[in-house]
């Protein structure tokens, strides 16, 4: 019996070292990141990461993101803001681009794609990136037969008028829902202009793509690409260790082992993901900014990041991720200072402390963080009761304003500070829009309105920074940390750059080096 047990231990321990791996004979890049089946390959239905990633392989938008989350020309070669009172862009489209079936791409396809995405019959439900277009809302509501703001000048020129000035509009066009499709799109056999042609989709198993030899930006170097759908993170780890997949997102609880090293090339990249505690600034003692600051001061973020997420986070001092324009990287996060926290509480008239509810969803890591926060708050006489619910239910409670505080995260849809500041804290987005803090600050709102209308990126970033500074001071949330993704890459996979935004990496430079041996192919 003891011997059996020791064998088992050997297996478990052996899993730690990833020795003896040689380059695979396969020619298909194999990805292990998707942990559930994409919703659809219809760009109009793209609301989740696996879908958005796959859509970016098959389709193009007028603009696209680079792996480091810069916006660059896509199907539009260039664009300019037209002079005049009404905000409008002129897009110059790439000529000679063909869909995978040979259909030549024209401006008409852009219009029909966007109409399709906005059409309620498509059941998309997430066409927000297109809603700033003049007349888009009327069209979506069935009050107009076409989108008033779109005008086809010729096959390769399109003007887009907006309802209001919106400096980040070109960025929004890199989102999956704004992709250009053929009018008769069949989600089971999608045809786009993207770098990869769709080959097959075995639901809950894998998606297979082949390179588009005539891609306008040059064909990808690898022949084919398989996106495996692996539900269980430990299984993905095993697949990586057996050499069957080329890329792994290291699960948070497995970090330490990977940092020790092995053959795999480790790459850490800041994700555009803020983990925070929304504080409902309209409920009881939480109305007082001093109380909210006290909560921020009472929590030891550094310890939470180090102990509970293996150090894979950067402490947040505001809501703008440090990789995005507008972030004030010099600003220090709230220090861990229980004395000051108690003093602030007393000043606000709560010398005996306060009672609050802290809601959290079902993610076990977040539950542990919530418990840690509860412990810290107790020391500052803030008695937090943890309310754990299924994630959608917790989110709904927060949106309906019945949760004092909620621990949650926020991922960027597009890499711009606006995508954090505006939905999370603008008064127009209270509740269902994403502002679960029910924060309303006239100064903040004014800065954000100005920033949204500002076409110049530099000026916009200044306004973002000011707005973020107000938010930091008013503390409508506990600014916890920005998460870092950790990638493990097989030594034989070259040319891969980990993306900051989910649809920013399309395997345009990646390849498998077939013959490379283990000795040469280390870090």
């Amino acid at each position: 019996m003891r011997r059996v047990a020791s064998y088992l231990m050997v297996f478990v321990a052996a899993a730690g070292g990833c020795d003896d791996r040689s380059a695979p004979s396969r020619r298909t890049i194999t990805d292990s990141r998707d942990n559930y089946d994409p919703r659809s390959l219809d760009p109009a239905l793209s609301t989740d990461v696996p879908t958005g990633r796959a859509v970016a392989y098959v389709f193009d938008g007028l603009t696209r993101f680079t792996p480091d989350a810069k916006v660059e020309p896509g199907l539009a070669e260039r664009w300019e803001l037209l002079p005049g009172a009404a905000p409008a862009y002129r897009f110059h489209l790439r000529q000679g681009v063909q869909f995978h079936d040979g259909t030549p791409f024209t401006a008409q396809h852009v219009v029909s794609s966007w109409e399709r995405a906005l059409n309620p019959a498509t059941k998309g439900g997430r066409a927000e990136p297109l809603q700033p277009i003049l007349g888009a809302r009327d069209f979506a509501a069935g009050r107009a037969k076409s989108i008033r703001g779109l005008r086809i000048v010729d096959d390769s020129t399109l003007t887009v008028a907006l309802e209001q000035p919106l400096g980040i509009f070109p960025k929004l066009l890199a989102m999956p829902v704004a992709s250009v499709v053929l009018p008769n799109l069949d989600p089971a056999r999608p045809v786009g202009t993207g770098p990869w042609r769709f080959v097959e989709w075995k639901h809950d198993d894998y998606l297979l793509f082949a390179k588009n030899d005539s891609y306008w930006a040059g064909a990808p170097p690898a022949d084919s690409l398989r996106a495996r759908i692996i539900a269980e993170p430990s299984t993905a780890v095993a697949e990586f260790e057996s050499g069957a997949v080329d890329l792994l997102l290291v699960p948070a609880n497995d970090t330490k082992r990977w940092e020790v090293g092995g053959d795999a090339v480790m790459m850490s990249v800041p994700a555009l993901q803020l983990v925070y505690v929304g504080i409902n600034a309209t409920r009881g003692p939480l109305k007082d900014a001093r109380v909210r600051r006290a909560i921020n001061l009472a929590i030891d973020r550094r310890e939470i990041v180090d102990r509970l997420i293996s150090g894979r986070g950067r402490l947040a001092a505001g809501v703008i991720p440090p990789t995005l324009g507008g972030a004030d990287t010099a600003r220090a996060p709230y220090p861990f200072d229980v004395t000051t926290a108690r003093k602030l509480l007393a000043e606000a008239g709560f010398a005996n402390g306060i009672d609050v509810e802290l809601w959290v969803g079902s993610n076990p890591v977040y539950v542990r963080i919530a418990e840690a926060i509860q412990g810290y708050l107790t020391a500052a006489k803030i008695r937090a009761k943890i309310v754990q619910r299924e994630s959608a239910a917790a989110r709904e409670a927060a949106r309906n304003g019945v949760a004092d505080m909620i621990l949650k995260d926020w991922y960027a849809d597009y890499p711009d500070a606006e995508n954090f500041l505006y939905p999370l804290l603008h008064s127009a987005n209270k509740g269902v829009g994403g502002n679960v803090s029910f924060f309303a600050d006239a100064g903040f709102d004014r800065l954000m309105s100005q920033a949204r209308a500002e076409p110049n990126e530099g000026n916009r970033n200044v306004l973002y920074r000011q707005a973020d500074s107000i938010a930091f001071d008013q503390a409508p949330m506990v600014f916890l940390f920005f998460y870092n993704e950790l990638y493990a890459v097989q030594p034989w996979l070259t040319g891969f750059t980990p993306p900051v935004i989910f649809n920013g990496q399309r395997w345009l430079t990646a390849n498998l080096e077939g013959g490379r041996r283990k000795e040469e192919g280390s870090r």
């Binding site: 559930y36 997430r126 495996r228 269980e232 299924e390």
Partner: protein
């Protein structure tokens, strides 16, 4: 027999209707709004209201139930809220894979389990008996999940004999079938053993031996056949539960079966998908039980149905 079958099938109708009602109500009272899950983190109130209306979520409960039951009777399980694909097609795609896994696991379990049970009953206290006892304790006590990961670590990562996960030829089938069948091996061995011990001490076994029948005939034909009834019961129940989605096994091995489908549907609050799958699986369960009943009659001629 035909009359019996007809009656059993008729009886299944109220059962399935009950399932329909319960599934419908359970999801209605469960917290969380399907529309919230559909649109993701952010969407404007207008979109949410429109979707609620489109999905008939604003209709009174009985009206919604009526719509649903009517469609089901026409064989239409509806379309997924999330993927917009027909649920019946989704089930048709996944169920054969679950069936394949369940059959392989059952084959492994019955061969191993019954053999171990028979051997340990024939020589109680012998080394096969003690091995079988030990194995069944392990089989019952260790969670499938853990065993599955160990199998992957050994056969896929260390030895590299078999793929760790996915769906394909027999190579992909071995590990999940072993992991899934292991619990049944344990149960079956124990049930077979006790039934066989009883049978082997029966008068007819003594008579068979007295008339000079060979030992394997005594054990295999006389004793085992009589001991089969409880074994069939266990087989039937286990097979039924495998078919209704071995969620853990399918998840760990990334097996694209019905278990993962239903878990995904639950996670995304995909009401029609959950309802359709549960309804279909209940039907499957009823059907497997019916098969077990028929198997009783085959195994024991004294059992007959009228």
């Amino acid at each position: 027999m035909t009359g019996f079958l007809a009656r059993r099938l008729l009886l299944a109708v109220p059962t399935l209707f009950g399932v329909l009602v319960v599934v419908f109500l359970l999801l209605y009272v469960a917290p969380g709004d399907p529309v919230t899950a559909m649109v993701g983190e952010r969407a404007d109130a207008e979109t949410i209201a429109r979707l609620r209306h489109e999905l008939r979520l604003d209709d009174p409960l009985p009206v919604r139930f009526g719509h649903y039951a009517g469609a089901v009777l026409r064989g239409d399980l509806g379309r997924s809220y999330i993927t917009d694909r027909p649920i019946a097609a989704d089930i048709r795609e996944r169920f054969p894979k679950t069936l394949e896994l369940a059959a392989a696991a059952m084959l492994f379990a019955s061969v191993m389990g019954i053999s171990l049970g028979v051997l340990s009953a024939r020589w109680p206290g012998g080394w096969t008996d003690r091995l079988a006892l030990g194995a069944s304790y392990l089989g019952v006590s260790y969670p499938v999940y853990w065993v599955a990961l160990l199998l992957i670590l050994l056969f896929a990562v260390q030895l590299q004999w078999l793929p760790a996960s996915g769906y394909g030829g027999w190579k992909y089938l071995v590990l999940p079938a072993l992991a899934l069948g292991m619990r049944s091996v344990a149960f079956l061995a124990r049930v077979t053993r006790s039934a066989m011990l009883e049978a082997l001490s029966a008068d007819y076994v003594r008579s068979a031996r007295a008339k000079g029948a060979q030992e394997w005939v005594v054990v295999g034909r006389h004793a085992l056949r009589n001991a089969l009834i409880p074994v069939i019961t266990v087989l039937g129940i286990d097979f039924g539960s495998y078919l209704t989605g071995s969620i853990l096994t399918e998840t760990v091995f990334s097996w694209p079966g019905i278990g993962r489908y239903v878990v995904n549907a639950i996670a995304r609050r995909d009401l029609p998908a959950i309802q359709g799958t549960v309804l279909f699986l209940s039907l499957t369960f009823v059907f497997v039980n019916l098969l077990a009943d028929i198997a009783y009659a085959k195994a024991d001629p004294r059992i007959s149905y009228r």
